[in-house]
């Protein structure tokens, strides 16, 4: 009699090939599962995926839409990767994006800073806005041992309501009539775009440069070493005299600041005014958590994962428009892809093999 035995062995150091092949396998399973749902809507899955792909990459316009979505995910994702590396769990990027947008808008609308310096001031204050917002959670964690996951998350709702208050109240635009948004920024507060696309090139370049800097910082500097030690074991860090309080504050400050930059990028590069929070950020602060997670907190890999998620968003948009399906269906598709990618992550650290066991061979 034959007996098939499943062997599970830990992979000591998962290779890039293993990670890629497992990820593709997971993607295939997700698409297969989503196919069943498309079929219930009488949509041919192949057709749906063709449209999806076309919407994300099919034309220069499609690609530019994908990159437009990539930028905020990139900036925010790098920051989150940075803080997760230190085991500081910043879940509040959504709120930090909004704070960045508020600070940037404030400078754009009311500061009167002359043209060449206006954008620089907007980004500087936007960074500070996000960073300070994040520090609230960091200080509570470090001084009072309050869980930063809860506080940073709760601050998201506070931030959204601050935006709502401002656009309905004191900052409500003269020309907005019944709508709740601010006046349009002066043109000197607009970010330039690449050609006729809607891609603000400044934030794209900043994002890629910051990814590189963060990567070098984490892997090649003594500060990065401290961050990694704290992230692995706070007790060990304390034993060798690393100031984990400083590291936690820094991690929150940087990740909040980068989310703030993303917020400025959205209002200055795309909307040119401050408007409803769900329009400024399409949940980028939450999606960026997964962007960082899938990149294994490697800032360079965030460039790839952010682009991947940018494609998911823009492809999903195209699908919704061209097939006229409920937009929840697109979320289901995205959810399935994420779910199987994250679930497959364990598989990269274990090797599965099947062994045929012959009864006679047994002693």
């Amino acid at each position: 009699m034959f007996k098939i035995k499943l062997n599970i062995e830990p992979r000591l150091l998962p290779s890039a090939g293993a990670i890629l092949s497992v990820s593709f396998f997971a993607l295939a399973i997700a698409l297969l599962a989503a196919s069943l749902i498309f079929l219930t809507y009488d949509i041919k899955p192949v057709e749906a995926y063709r449209l999806f792909f076309k919407g994300a990459f099919g034309s220069w316009y499609a690609i530019s839409e994908t990159i437009k979505r990539t930028i905020p995910l990139l900036l925010t994702g790098i920051g989150l990767a940075f803080s997760f590396k230190a085991s500081v769990w910043n879940i509040g990027a959504e709120g930090q994006i909004l704070l960045g947008a508020i600070f940037g808008s404030w400078i754009a609308l009311f500061s009167g800073i002359p043209a060449p310096f206006l954008l620089i001031a907007m980004f500087a204050f936007g960074f500070l806005g996000g960073a300070v917002w994040a520090l609230v959670a960091a200080v509570l964690r470090s001084k009072l041992a309050v869980n930063e996951i809860i506080t940073s998350l709760m601050l998201n709702y506070v931030a959204a309501n601050i935006v709502l208050y401002l656009i309905h109240g004191p900052w409500k635009g003269q020309g907005a009539r019944g709508f709740a948004y601010t006046d349009t920024f002066p043109e000197s507060a607009w970010l330039g775009t690449i050609g006729s696309t809607r891609i603000p090139y400044a934030t794209l370049i900043i994002g890629i440069i910051i990814a590189l800097i963060c990567y070098l910082l984490i892997s090649r500097t003594t500060l990065g070493y401290e961050i990694r030690v704290v992230g692995n074991s706070i007790r060990t860090a304390r034993l060798v005299g690393i100031n984990d309080f400083k590291i936690a504050l820094l991690a929150m400050f940087v990740s909040g600041g980068l989310a703030g930059l993303a917020g400025v990028g959205e209002v200055s590069g795309i909307h040119h005014l401050l408007r409803h929070p769900s329009h400024i950020s399409l949940g980028y602060g939450y999606t960026a958590i997964i962007v960082a997670w899938l990149a294994r907190n490697n800032p360079l890999a965030v460039i790839l994962t952010a682009f991947f998620f940018g494609a998911l968003v823009s492809g999903g948009d195209a699908l919704r428009v061209s097939l006229g399906i409920p937009f929840q269906l697109v979320y289901v598709l995205n959810g399935l892809i994420l779910f199987s990618l994250i679930a497959s992550e364990r598989l990269t650290s274990y090797k599965l093999s099947f062994q045929r066991k012959n009864e006679k061979e047994r002693r």
Binding site: T222, Y225, R228, S233, T236, R238, L239, G241
Partner: protein, 521 residues
Amino acid sequence: MQKRKEIAVAFEGVCKKFPPNILANDYISFEVEKGTILAILGENGAGKTTLMNILYGLYQPDEGKILIKGKPVQISSPQKAIELGIGMVHQNFKLVETNSVIENIILGLSSVPFFEPVRKIQKKIEEMSKRYGLKIDLAAKIWQLSAAEQQCVEILKALYRQPEIIIWDEPTSVLTPKEVNDLFLVLRKMKEEDKTCLFITHKLKEVMEISDQVTILRKGKVVGNLITCQTTIEELAQKMIGQKISFSFSKKKEKLTEKGEIVLRMKEVDALGDRRLMALKNISFEVHQGEIVGLAGVTGNGQRELAETIIGLRQVGKGKISINGVDITNSSPREIAQQGVAYIPEDRQFALVSLMSIAENFRLRDYNKLPFAKGLWFDWNIVLEHAHQMIDTYNILPPLPQMPVRLLSGGNRQRVILAREFVQNPKLIIASNPTAGLDVGGAETIFQLFLEMQQKGAGILLISGDLDEILVLADTILVIFRGEIIGRKKGKEEGWTEKDRTDLGLMMGGVKLESEVKNSV
């Protein structure tokens, strides 16, 4: 000749493999007669605990059979084991800290009445504890109890389920000599009641004292089944270790003609423990250059707090600590380390960053100094080169500097720590149970390294729960009990005697010996 008795448990070709390819149990076969105390002897990693976990249903064997009273059984879970009359006293207590003794004893029983379970069962437990001489306050919460008392709860918990076969997993490791004697009384009582005891240990003396038979495991194989009264301690040791070695590691002592400078001076130090209760009371002692001071005591009497106080992780409440004459009371851990202090904690995870590579762990102490760091940046080539050197010198396996340390064995992890802490020739070494969990060969390497450091003039504070380790290495011995130094012994040229050993055992159990206290300082 006595009539051959019923076989309580038999193992037939039991095999257990752990990935990637560790054969923890390699075709193990033996049997145990009813009403005997069988010692299962072996070094760390010999497969004793694995085998017992299989018997208790925590693991499934890959191959082989287990027979209870002659019938083959499938023990799929501890629940099943209990039904079959098997009980286990775990080495790491499996108790709910915030619950009372009685609640822990009845936890998981199916026959507990839904209402007022405690009151109805209390009487039965009281009766049982009287029968076995296990005195304990049933209403006390687990966290309030000492290690010995917690073990008492574990025993009652096992007994309450009325087992015929009881597995004892290294039950004496947390006990004082007196408590060990009490435990042995319980075992003998069980034997009288014709219950079968499987007693896991690596302590030879205990095997000789309590067991009827002994099964010796080495590297997952049975290497001997002996009748205890027909063997000797030397034979057991030789079988367990597998090669003829001198029974006790003999320390080649250089005679200390004169004591060196004082490296560490503790003066009337008090410190609070984690629960804000006094953990150290009025601690005073000194460690000289080239001296090994052993701090003996049963685990949990303030040893951890003492080490943490010296290295700067715990606030000194009162008193003064100086190293090389420099007052370091309440200095930061980094300032203290810069005085040339090495620390080998008992918990290796504490001294290592387990997800980081061997190379990166080597620079944990000096990551921000030359040659590793140049300004803000560090030099990977130097880090790697340094790691290769250290790996060669300390014989770390596998010799892969990029490998995460979590994949190393315990002995290799310990060598990574020692290599890092010793490379700078520290003046003071604080070491807690440095050989815990290591096999005899591994322990001997560690001993050698300590003696080398002593030769180089380091003062060493060796904190250990293992009296034998201290007797092998220490020049001076202190005994700590409930946060106080309750006795000291200065070494003599002829080495430690059997009387010293007895005295130390008594002091570890909290007995103050007048003569020893007077001799101090």
